[in-house]
Amino acid sequence: MEREICSIVSNDRVAKDIYKLVISSKSIIKEASAGQFLHIKPSLNYDPLLRRPISICKADLAKGHIVLLYRVCGKGTRLFGELREGDCLDIMGPLGKGFPILKDKKAAVIGGGIGIAPLLELCQNLNSPDIYMGFRDEVYFVDEFIKHSDAFFLYTEDGSRGSKGYPIEALARNISSYEVVYACGPKMMLSKVKELCETNSVECYLSMEERMGCGVGACLVCACESSEESYYKKVCVDGPVFNSREVKFDDRYER
């Protein structure tokens, strides 16, 4: 884990509120792996105060570039949206536990919305997994994924691209073909993926999200329900990627 001042190579809007940020890194990139995140200070002053955890979308070691895909949804990410080439960011990382790369197992990767971000580096490292992706309406970044996929399943909620509905529907039909499933997306989707995989005895890894403070395990705010009743897991250091059997979902996500 390093703290590095990284300069911005590019920051482009790829869809409504979705941006692709490319940063130049010398030290962080050397340790970066799929599923880990960077903890980025959006402002040099006190507002917003905290760093923002953004998952690593792609790490190009040859160029020394890290690609981040993020959604503008609050004060911090709005400031990220204003970054221009040549600006600098105070970044800590890579942090957290990433995806175990199980190359020998037939894998399915499922992502929903901005949850696709940490899956690209993963897909590049797997042996052509089947990829399932869902979006509300506007579709982004799928070409990057198609390159690394065996089969590709695209869904939108409004049916404007791909099939109408959710990618979990297709994954449920094909679940018996897989030995491992990797997922990142809304909690409702993750909760369904967990249930599907566990019912069918398929190994499953979920990338979780929770409001975060320090990012290094000291502040205990990013607690997530653990399958062990007596304690919570820390998303920042025990995760963000968990074996599905390690975590539990609150009833409020079952809606």
Binding site: Y46, D47, L49, L50, A218, C219, L220, A223
Partner: protein
């Protein structure tokens, strides 16, 4: 030659920069950033007699220049701390301050007694706003501060620090009570009680309804309280509350703090304690001061009343 060492009620620190309980875990996390021996001392995450799972998420909300937290004293319990966490910290030479929280006076006493041979000071947490029993219930009633301080002081042979709550009408009254009951030092402030409402779902954002506010937003209040406490007590004060830079630290020392502690700043700048320490040293060098006690202002000028 600059001597940065300070005394906090019988415990000599090699410099006045501490890190606050609840913002530094048990030291492991930040040991990856710098040598923990650089610090004046470490107040570890608050511990309770039995392990606590802590509050249900969400546990944090960002506010303007601050944060609200509702962690609820998640910790491995007294014995979990002594067996699993303390050995790591003991590898360092840095003074360890055990922060303890109890539901009853008896619980505080048992914990202090179990700990005092293994740590350098005990900090009584009588000011946690995030748990239903104990915590702040002790810190807002003078007679309870007296009872718990007095009971613990009798059982231990190491410095006793009482961490005061800012959620009181008169901080100096609480400071005086702690001093009268035998506290060797007081630390202030703990978090201020705040809240947030989830307007979409029309309910309080936190399960526990209220939460503790910290960060730069509370600094002026903390500074005022350190000043007021310093007016009344003779025991040393550890000043904290939104300290992020060396300038903040100098303000607290000028207000009457013998030492200062970095809390929330650790979350967004892991190097904050080291930067503050370097800043104080540079300030002293620049100002021609040789000891921390020489950082003073004229207390006779008082416009605050």
């Amino acid at each position: 030659m600059i001597d940065m060492s300070v005394d906090i009620g019988g415990l000599r620190l090699k410099n006045p920069v501490l890190v606050s309980s609840g913002t530094f875990g048990f030291g492991r996390e930040y040991s990856k950033f710098y040598d923990l021996n650089s610090l004046g001392g470490i107040a570890v995450k608050g511990i309770t007699l039995k392990p606590r799972k802590g509050n249900k998420p969400p546990r944090i909300a960002e506010t303007a220049a601050g944060i609200l937290n509702s962690v609820g004293l998640e910790n491995p319990g007294l014995y979990g701390f002594m067996e699993k966490e303390l050995p790591f910290l003991k590898r360092y030479k840095v003074p360890i301050i055990a922060n303890i929280s109890g539901n009853t006076v008896e619980e505080y006493s048992i914990m202090a007694q179990e700990l005092y041979n293994s740590v350098d000071a005990i900090e009584l947490n009588v000011s946690c706003p995030n748990v239903r029993e104990g915590g702040i219930a002790f810190g807002t009633k003078p007679e309870l501060i007296y009872q718990v301080t007095n009971a613990v002081k009798k059982r231990i042979g190491i410095p006793l620090i009482v961490k005061l709550s800012p959620n009181v009408t008169d901080i100096s009254e609480m400071a005086l009570v702690a001093e009268g009951a035998g506290a060797d030092c007081i630390s202030l402030i703990n978090t201020m009680i705040g809240m947030k409402i989830d307007i979409e779902n029309k309910r309080p954002y936190f399960d526990n309804v209220v939460a503790g506010l910290s960060g730069p937003a509370v600094k002026p209040v903390a500074l005022r309280m350190v000043w007021q406490a310093a007016e009344k007590v003779n025991i040393p004060i550890i000043g904290m509350g939104g300290i992020s830079t060396w300038r903040d630290a100098i303000e607290f020392i000028m207000a009457g703090a013998a030492a200062i502690s970095i809390g929330t700043a650790n979350f967004y700048n892991p190097y904050a304690p080291i930067e503050v320490l370097d800043g104080i040293r540079n300030y002293m060098e620049y100002s021609g001061l040789n000891r921390i006690e020489e950082i003073k202002i004229n207390r006779g000028v008082k416009n605050y009343e």
